[in-house]
Each structure stands twice: as structure tokens, then as C-alpha cells.
Symmetry: C2
């Protein structure tokens, strides 16, 4: 067996690579004058959000940590609590580094676009994304690998590591849901008062909400997305480890045969395997990042695609290598292949529904009015769930054939193995978007704006793939966690032919189904209410700051950031309570009837299904409306300011909370529910 | 034990009462001249639709009947096939009588409104609804009661009766889904070309689509709703009978103790009990209908409410009486109480979300534009699912405590027992609506129109309750059918601790979850495409018929009805295939792996959850948009033609296919899937 020390070591090396890339970015020119001051405001705003969230996270995590410490089984309560705090810290650090980098890379991308053209600008934006991607992967390897190294002789190593995943989930809840509310509140608020009421253009520096809007891009799409992926990444690995640990009591000889091992003595290897695979994965990601940088000068869109595909292929080959090195059956590698392929399928379907013929058809619906754009968009969202869901179903079926439930966990690891580069491409998008905003605000002219718009467009396509990936991975990770929960809850008679079990399961299923729908409603309302707070503040500034509209006075941007932060922080408590509280309430509520685990299983099944369905439906409908609007803006169906364009703007406004707040919050919701259930399983 | 002959006899008597009421309606004056010719056109149009659907149903039912005959277990294939055809016929006859009555009551309601005022008009409209309600209940009692009487000595009586439920389901699929597409295609088509393009008012006789629009109200809300309720009504009873039948092999002494009986020798009584309860239910409904007629002169809204509540209370009391007469435990009656109460809760919640403070808030959202109306409406729909779902969960939990799974079936019977009057109130709505349309088209003046509008408004409130009732009942009936399926599929080792079972279940769950989302997309698209066909036809007539716009020539209304019928018939095939095909494909597809029943269980769980959630979400969002529009039209927020009104019109247009096509089709979808599964269970 390979020494488990290798995982945290490679993790630290990965962090080092990220550091080198970051140093390279910081060396680039950030220009001077207006753009710098704008960029500094964005940096400051981002830090206001991070600080506020961090304080809240500290408070909440101390409470949750104390609950774990006092109520968890005493055999490992202490270590699990420590792991929980480490998970919180690791996710926060990853988010902080990502935000720090993104808010420095944006201005440098703008300057590079102005001074050196597309290739140089792309390189900086992508490097910024790479720092985020590698940090996410590296923090996972350092945290999970370190814990495994420290506790791999402890029979409760899986339980201890679950604490880490729970920490990551709690932080993700704050960054993703809070960030999602922040970003859309700022966006809607700035647009509504600025464009509609004051009649000034988008991204105009006179608008007090514009900085908050730009901060929002970083908060939602960098920190939020990063913590989301980090959570799935940790969840997938820990679920696989937990399933491997449960093999000791549950597996017969025919199961071990599937893995190509002789028996239970191979369990330590099987437990380490997911970590080893992600360790290999970060190396493949780094190679992919190099490939992008080499190709960037020629064709930007191709560079990103080749980099992603290249590292995925490399990763699959490496998985076969690992199997061969450890004398494991290739069945293991087939599971990795299965997960990677299904990630690509889901991503491609997402790209199709949010960028292909469907959005052209959607725009064409505008000929008969706003209502038909709405109906068609909703219908598009509803039907877009089919292939991804069936792909996940097929992945579960096939990977199980190869390596039972352990294989399902591995498929999730396969989908998430090259997180270093997929996340890099996700984070590239908001950096390019911000760069465009800075160019606009500092009046850099058509030429620069055209380059940044081009970068943004490239990012949109690849980001769609990334989004599909994120949902698929979250779903598969959650599924693996749920199966780990079922295995662990020691449900000795989970037998549907027992009527009472059946009843309890259905009751749980209905409760679970309500959760994502309620979460969708709460997050959508939260955006509306938070936007309302923003609108009032922006209106106040236009009213009370003399000379603001004439460009003679500075707006108080910090105040707007503050308002959005406060609103986001306040409004994310309900979703957080729903996510953490539901499994606890159901589990312990039904414990008295002796069926806590069964009811909770039903709840998790209902919530899993609802979350994946709504996440896909909302993200895809939102993305389609957004891109239909852009398609019309390119000059189709009468172009900008035509009736059809106005219809598409309505679609886009509805789609905003769909795709950037409610939809993504579903990924977190189900993973938090699953990991909380796994942690409380021994107590039920 | 009471003789089972009583059920079909009371059924025939119920049909007799319906006949007497119908004769009473036909005796009323139908006026002369223009209104009569309009009403005759509506009658003719309705018959065109019925005839076409009937031909298609005949074809499809012969195919399905042949499949049952040749592939079902030979012990009862013949009888089940006959029962299937009887189910098709019973549902079709109920639909035909309902449509016949509604299209005759509408004109007479108009004339009564003109000549004698509100009370007289209400009585006719409600009598029309009563004929439909009583016919639905009576056909159920005659069909199910007759079959039970004929085969109660046959050990396969439950299986034979399942054929009847399947027949009812297949017909419901055609009337409800086809009717839903027809009604919205006609509505949208007539409005768009008439109001928007030709600039003539709503319900203007020059518009070729107006008759089709009025036909649509009957087709969707009378025949469609009737067949939907009929299906749930039969499904609930048969599920309970099937569960009772399975007690012989599955129940221990403690279960029989719950029912207050000594052992398996009471099974025949338990099997007959749901039929006996619905037999009592029709009597309670008739008494409730009498109460409404007595009170109608004073306060119309109160009359409808007192009638419904009165018969529900009577029914609950009667249930205790039945228990006491048959020396059964009151546990049985508590289940009935439980179902009735939960129906009332769900209905009240529906009323709240589509009529209370939420719709005033929704209209207020219009201040910030169309997009916020859309977002708030969707959010309202999402959150409106919570209480109904939790109510269903509680109903399942509590009724199981009283009488195990048999109790869950009884709760569904409890919810549906007074179908005679709840359905009467549902069917009252479209009759009042049609009466208004006829008044408008024949220019009867303000006064008459005001009365019919008042009747319509009363109907809307009570119809909301009815709609919630229908969804709750469909959900509970489907759940009972699914549990009956699980009991019957002889899944000897449905054990979640077996990893392979768990895997197969999840794969099934994902497939099942896709079905309602796909059905939603297909039905919404179908409305759009069918409306497009209508639009083209109406445009053609305006273009090609000289003097049409000047009122000098008659439009070819029949042609429009024909187009809408053809479009509806064609576009409903996909949802039908999805509903019937999915359980067959999953069941037999996984049969080779030995896990057909387990996979299908997963699929049914996923589809059940998705169907109830989407049905509630879509119906409530659609209802809320509709009523927000009406609220603005009453003069709030600037009244008709204000910007906010325009926003609400967009909401209403999106809500139309939500609440009248896609939402209601979910009820049918899950019940068809459940009954098909139950029928094929022995073959898996």
C-alpha cells in the first residue's frame, strides 16, 4: 500500500503551485487611476462580505461543534468535533484565497485586455480561476488526507472524517446560499434603480449599487461555487470511505472478488483509494492547466475545452494505472470512467439546453409575447431534467455492477477528481465578467470592452458545462452519502413487506419532498426582500447625496455592500435551519416510534430527488432565458430594445434567482441533509 | 353482513335521482333566438369532441384489453378484461351524461338569470353540476358494486375489479389530458387572434374560436374533471379492497384486533366495507344537494359551503353508524374522519393560496413589473405544497395507526366518499362560466351579466376547495394503490440493507422523478402547439370569409372545434404513452435482473412525489395568477388596462396551462401508473 502521507504532501504541493500562479498574477500590471480605485472598492466589498459571513460561521460552527462534542458517541466525539472545525476552516480558507485572487485578477485582466489583447487577458483570468480550482482541491487533500493519515489506525476514522465533510457543508451553506442572495439582491437593486429609475447605463460608476453588483459576482460565483464544489468533493470521498469501512461487517466474499482483493484485509486499501485517486486527480488538473496556458494564445475556447478534456482523459488513464499498481480489479477504474463520462454527458446536455437550438427557439417564442417566453422557458427547464437524471440513474446502475455501492461512491469521485481544472474554468467566468465591468466603469473604450466580452462569452459556454457537472456531482455525492447513511444506521429490518416500515418511509418521503420546494420559495423570496433593502438604500443615496447623478459626488458604495451583506446574512438563516434542522427533526422525532432511521431514509430520498430535479430545472431555465436575451441582443428578432428583447429581459430577471440562488442552493441543501444524517446515524 | 347487492341498487337509484334532476333542468325555459343557436353550437362542439375521443378510446381500449386478455394470468384474464371494458364504458357514460347536462344547463342558467334572478340561476347551474356529481358516484357504485356482487365468491375478485379501475384511468387520461389541451388551445387561440389581432372583445360571436373556447370549458372542467375524480374514486375503493384481500396471507392477529374482528373470516366484510361506505356516501351527497337547493334562495355562497360541509359531517356520522352496525372497531370510522378532515384542510389551504392575502400580495408585486409577478407566483406555488403534503403525510401516519395500510385506503375513501356533492360544485363552475359567455355573446345586457358573474365568482372559491380535494384524493388513492402493488408484487426480500435492492430502488426513483417533469413539459408544449393550430385557423377565417369582421357573415365555429379536437387528440398521445408505458418498461425491463418489482416501486415512489408536488405547485400558482388578475380588474392597483393588470395577464396566461392542463394531468399520470403497476404485478 502507498503511504497515506502522500495525499497531504501532494495537497501542500498543489497549494504551492496555486501560490506560484497567484504570485505570477500579482506581478502583472494593475494599471493606475480610476480602474485601480474601482478594483479596490470591489476588493474591500468582497472582504466586508467574507468577514461578516466568517463571523456568523464562527458563531454557528461553535454551536454545531458543541452539539457534536456533547451528543455524539463519546468514542470519537472529540476527534469528530476537531475534524468539523478543520472542515470549516479548510472551506473558509479556500473561499478566502479564491476571493482574494479573483478580486486581484479581475483588474489585471482588464489592463491586459487593454494593453496586450485577448491571449494575455485570458491567461490572467484563467490563472485566477486556477488558483481557486487548485486551492479547493488542495485544501481537500490536505484536510482529508491529513485526517486519514492521523487516524487511519483508529476504527472510527470514517466517522471522524465525516466531521470534516460536515464542516465543509456548513460553510458552503453560508457562502453559497448567502452569496446567492447577495449577488442577486445587488444585481436586481442596482439595475432597477439605476437603469429604470435614474436612467443611467449599466455598470455606471455613479450608481451606488454597481460595486455591490460586482462584488456579488465574486461572492456568488467564486466563493459560493467554490464552497459548493468543495463540499461535494469532500462528500464524495468521505461517502466512499464510509462505504468501504462498512464492508467489514456487510460484505461477502463475492463483493471482495469484484474489487480483485482477497477479503477484509484489503479494507484499509479500499478506504484510502478515493483519496489516492483525488491525489492523482490534482496532478492531472495541474497538467490540464498547463495545457490551457500553452494553447491560450491560439484559440481561447478550444484551449479551455482541451484542458478540461485532456485532464479528464489523463485522470481515467491514471485510474487504470492505480488499479494495476495496487493489484486491484479494473472494475474500480471502470467506475471512475463511468463517473467522468456521466459528468461530461450532463455538462453537454446543460450546454445544449442553455446554448443550442433550444435558446433560439425560446427567443423565437417572443414573437407571441412575454407569456410564451415564460411558458417555453419553464417547459424547457422541466424537460431538461430527463437526460441528466437518467444519466445519473445509469451511472448508479453500471458502477454498482462493477463494484457495488463502493462503486457508486467511486463514480462520484470520478466525476469530481479533476476539480482543480473544472473549478478553474468556473471561477474564470466571474473574473472575466468583472474585468468587463471595470473596463466599462472606467470608460476604457469599445476595443477593450470587446475583448472582455469575448472572454466572458467563452466562459459562459464552459461554465454551463461546469454547472451541470456541479449538479451531477452534488447529486451523486449526496446519493453516496445517503447510501452510506443507510448502511450505517444499522437498519436491521428495513423491509418494505413490513407495512409499518412502508408507512414510515412514505411519511418521510413526503416530508423530504416538501423541503426542496420550500427552500426554492424561501430563497426566491429572500432575493426579492434583500433586493428591496438594496433599492431603498440606492434610492436614498440618489436623493440625499447632492451632485451624485451629475457625477460630482462619489456614491457610498460600501454602504450598499453592507446592506446587501446584512440582508443576505439575515435571509439565509431560514434555508440553513431547514437544511440542518429537517434531518434532526425527522430522525429524532421518529426515534420514539423506533423508526427514526427509516423515516429519515424516506426524507433523504424525497429531498434528493426534489433537489436534483429542481436544481437542474431552475439552472437550465435560468441559463436559457439569460442566453436567449444575449442571442436577441446580438441582433436577432429585432435586437436590443425590441419587444422581444423586453420579453427576454423579463425571462432573464425571473431566471436570475432561479439559476444563481435557488437552483444552486439545492446542491448544498441535499448534501447538508445527507451529511447531517450520516453524522447523527449512530444516535438514531 | 349486509348484502353486496345494495351497492349497485343504491347506485341505480342515485342515477335515477340524477335523471329526475336532469328532467327538471330540461323543463326550464331555454329562451329563443340567438342564445339558443349559440348554445346549440356549444352542444354540437362538445359532441364532436366526445365522439372523436370516444373513437380513439375505443381503439386504445381494444388494444389494452387484448394485452390484458392475452398476457394476464389465465385464472382471471377473461374477467379482468371484461371489467376493464366496463370501466371504460362507465367512465365514458359518466362523462357523456355530464357533458350533455352541462351544455343544456348553461343556456337555461342564462335565461333564468335574465328572467328570474340569482337564486333561480344558481339552482339550475348547481342542478347541472349535481347531475354530473351523482352520475360519477352512481356509475362507480353500479360498476364496482356490480362486479363485487358478481364475483365476491371468486378468490380473484380484487384482481378482476382492478380491471375496472384501469378502464376508468385510461378514459380519464383521454378526457382529462385531451380536454386540458383542448380547452387551453381554444382559450389562447381565441383570445390572441380575437382580442389582440382583430381588436374585438372577449366572447364576441364574430370570433370563430369563441364557441370552441366555450366548448373547452365543458370539455376540460366537466368531462375532464369528472373522469379525473371518477378514477380516484374507483382507485381508492379498489386499493382498499386489494389491501383487504392481501390480509389473508399477510396479517397477524394484532392487525385484525385493530379492526375489531376476530380473524381472517372477517375479510369478506372488510373487502366490502369501502363499497358500503361509498354507498352511504352517495346518500349523504343527495341530502347535501337537497340542502343547497333549500338554501340557495338566501345566500348562494353559504348554500354551497353548508351543503358540502353538511354532507361531509353526515358521512362521518354514518361511518360510525356502519362500524357499529357491523360490530367493527371505531378505528375504521376514525380513518374516514381522518381522510375527510384532511381533504378539508387541503381544500382550505388551496383556497387561501389562490384567494386570500397571498393573491393581494401577488398583485402588489406588479408595482415592480411583470418579472416580480412571475417570481412571486412561482414562489407562491412552491411554498403552497408544504401544508398539503404534510397533511397527506399526517393522514397516512394517523390512519395507519388506526388500521394499518387498510386504514390508509379508508382515509382515501373518506376523502372521496361525498364525491356526489364535491363534484357537483366543481361542475357548477363551468356551467356558470358558460352561462356568462352565452349572455355576453347574445348581448343580454349588464344586469344579466352581473348575475352570471356573481355565480361564477361563487363557483371559483368553492372550485378551489374542490381542486385541492381532487389533488389530495388522487395522491392518497395513488398511494393506496402503490402500497397495494407492493403488497401484491410478493417482493419477498425488499430489504434496504441489501445493497443491490437499494441500488435498484434508487435507479427506479430517479426514473420515476423524471416522469412528472417530462409530463409537465410535454403538456405545456402541447398547449402551445395546439394553440398555434387554432390561431392559424382563426386567422384564415378572418382572412377568407368576406364580411366576417363586419358581422355580416357567420364564422365556421365547427371547423375551429374540429381543429382543437384534432390537435388535442394528437398531442395527448405522448403523455398517454408516458403514463402507460413507464411502469411497463421499468417493470419488464428490470424483470430480467430479477428486480422488476423493486425498480417499479422506486419509480412509483418518485413519480408519486413528483406528481403531487407539481400538481399542487402548478394548480396553486395558476389559480393565484388568475385571481390576482381578477383582483386588479376589480379596480385595485389601477384596475383594468393598467401596467399591473397587463403584468397579471401575463401571469394568468402562464398560469392557464399550469392549472388547467399540466397540473391536473399529474393526478391522472400517477393513478394510471399505479393501476397499471397493480395490474401487471403478478407478472413481474
Amino acid at each position: 500500500m502507498v503511504s497515506p502521507a502522500i495525499t497531504p504532501i501532494i495537497g501542500i504541493l498543489g497549494l504551492g503551485v496555486a501560490g506560484i500562479i497567484l504570485a505570477g498574477i500579482l506581478k502583472k500590471s494593475k494599471g493606475e487611476g480610476v480602474p485601480v480605485s474601482i478594483s479596490e472598492k470591489i476588493q474591500r466589498g468582497a472582504m466586508v462580505f467574507m468577514r461578516r459571513e466568517f463571523m456568523l460561521i464562527s458563531l454557528v460552527s461553535v454551536i454545531i461543534g458543541a452539539l457534536i462534542y456533547f451528543f455524539q458517541k463519546p468514542e470519537y466525539a472529540g476527534q469528530q468535533t476537531i475534524a468539523f472545525f478543520l472542515g470549516c476552516i479548510a472551506s473558509s480558507v479556500a473561499g478566502f484565497i479564491g476571493m482574494y485572487t479573483a478580486t486581484r485578477a479581475n483588474i489585471r485582466t482588464t489592463i491586459a485586455a487593454r494593453d496586450s489583447g485577448t491571449a494575455a487577458a485570458l491567461k490572467i483570468a484563467f490563472s485566477g480561476g486556477s488558483v481557486m480550482g487548485l486551492t479547493v482541491a488542495a485544501m481537500g487533500l490536505i484536510g482529508l488526507g491529513g485526517l486519514f493519515y492521523a487516524f487511519n489506525k483508529n476504527i472510527h476514522v470514517a466517522e471522524i472524517m465525516e466531521g470534516f465533510a460536515m464542516g465543509a457543508s456548513v460553510v458552503a451553506l453560508f457562502y453559497r446560499v448567502g452569496g446567492g442572495i447577495f449577488t442577486k439582491a445587488a444585481d436586481v437593486g442596482a439595475d432597477l434603480v439605476g437603469k429604470v429609475e435614474a436612467g443611467i447605463p449599466e455598470d455606471d460608476p455613479r450608481n451606488p449599487g454597481v460595486i455591490a453588483d460586482n462584488v456579488g459576482d465574486n461572492v456568488g460565483d467564486v466563493a459560493g461555487m467554490g464552497s459548493d464544489i468543495f463540499e461535494s468533493y469532500c462528500g464524495a470521498q468521505i461517502a466512499t470511505i464510509a462505504i468501504a469501512a462498512s464492508l467489514a461487517t456487510r460484505a461477502g466474499a463475492e463483493v471482495f472478488e469484484k474489487f480483485g482483493v482477497s477479503g477484509p484485509e484489503a479494507i484499509p486499501t479500499l478506504m484510502y483509494l478515493p483519496l489516492l485517486l483525488t491525489t492523482v486527480g490534482i496532478v492531472c488538473s495541474i497538467l490540464g492547466i498547463l495545457l490551457v496556458n500553452m494553447m491560450a494564445a491560439k484559440e481561447p475556447a478550444k484551449a479551455l475545452r482541451y484542458g478540461t478534456m485532456g485532464s479528464a482523459i489523463l485522470y481515467i488513464i491514471a485510474a487504470f494505472g492505480v488499479c494495476s499498481m495496487l493489484s486491484l480489479s479494473f472494475n474500480i477504474a471502470y467506475c471512475i470512467l463511468c463517473g467522468a463520462v456521466s459528468g461530461i454527458i450532463i455538462g453537454t446536455v446543460t450546454e445544449y439546453y442553455t446554448g443550442g437550438k433550444p435558446i433560439r427557439d425560446l427567443a423565437a417564442q417572443g414573437e407571441t409575447g412575454v407569456a410564451t417566453i415564460m411558458i417555453s422557458g419553464l417547459s424547457l427547464g422541466l424537460k431538461s431534467v430527463a437526460i441528466p437524471l437518467l444519466t445519473i440513474a445509469a451511472t448508479v446502475y453500471i458502477s454498482f455492477e462493477f463494484a457495488n455501492l463502493y462503486g457508486v461512491g467511486l463514480a462520484a469521485v470520478g466525476m469530481l477528481g479533476t476539480v482543480g481544472i473544472t473549478m478553474a474554468i468556473d471561477a474564470y467566468g466571474p473574473i472575466a465578467d468583472n474585468a468587463g465591468g471595470i473596463a466599462e466603469m472606467s470608460h476604457m473604450g469599445e476595443e477593450t470592452r470587446k475583448i472582455t466580452d469575448g472572454l466572458d462569452a467563452v466562459g459562459n459556454t464552459t461554465a454551463a458545462i461546469g454547472k451541470g457537472f456541479a449538479i451531477g456531482a452534488a447529486g451523486l455525492a449526496a446519493l453516496a452519502l445517503i447510501t452510506a447513511f443507510i448502511q450505517k444506521a444499522h437498519i436491521d429490518s428495513f423491509d418494505f413487506t413490513d407495512q409499518s416500515t412502508l408507512r414510515t418511509f412514505f411519511v418521510g418521503l413526503f416530508i423530504g419532498g416538501v423541503v426542496p420546494f420550500l427552500n426554492g420559495a424561501i430563497t426566491m423570496d429572500a432575493v426579492g426582500k434583500a433586493a428591496f433593502d438594496m433599492i431603498n438604500e440606492i434610492r436614498r443615496q440618489f436623493r440625499e447625496i447632492p451632485g451624485l447623478l451629475e457625477g460630482k459626488a462619489e456614491p457610498d458604495s460600501d454602504k450598499c455592500v453592507d446592506i446587501a451583506t446584512a440582508a443576505a446574512t439575515k435571509r439565509m438563516m431560514m434555508p440553513a435551519i431547514l437544511a440542518v434542522g429537517t434531518p434532526i427533526a425527522v430522525g429524532f422525532g421518529f426515534k420514539a416510534t423506533g423508526a427514526g432511521a427509516i423515516a429519515l431514509t424516506g426524507t433523504l430520498c424525497g429531498a434528493l430527488l426534489g433537489c436534483i430535479l429542481l436544481a437542474l430545472m431552475m439552472s437550465n431555465a435560468g441559463g436559457a432565458w439569460d442566453n436567449a436575451k444575449k442571442y436577441v441582443e446580438e441582433g436577432h428578432h429585432g435586437g436590443k430594445n425590441s419587444e422581444i428583447h423586453k420579453g427576454c429581459v423579463v425571462g432573464d430577471t425571473v431566471g436570475d434567482p432561479f439559476k444563481d440562488t435557488s437552483g444552486p442552493s439545492m446542491n448544498i441543501l441535499i448534501n447538508v441533509m445527507a451529511i447531517v444524517s450520516l453524522v447523527i446515524a449512530p444516535l438514531l
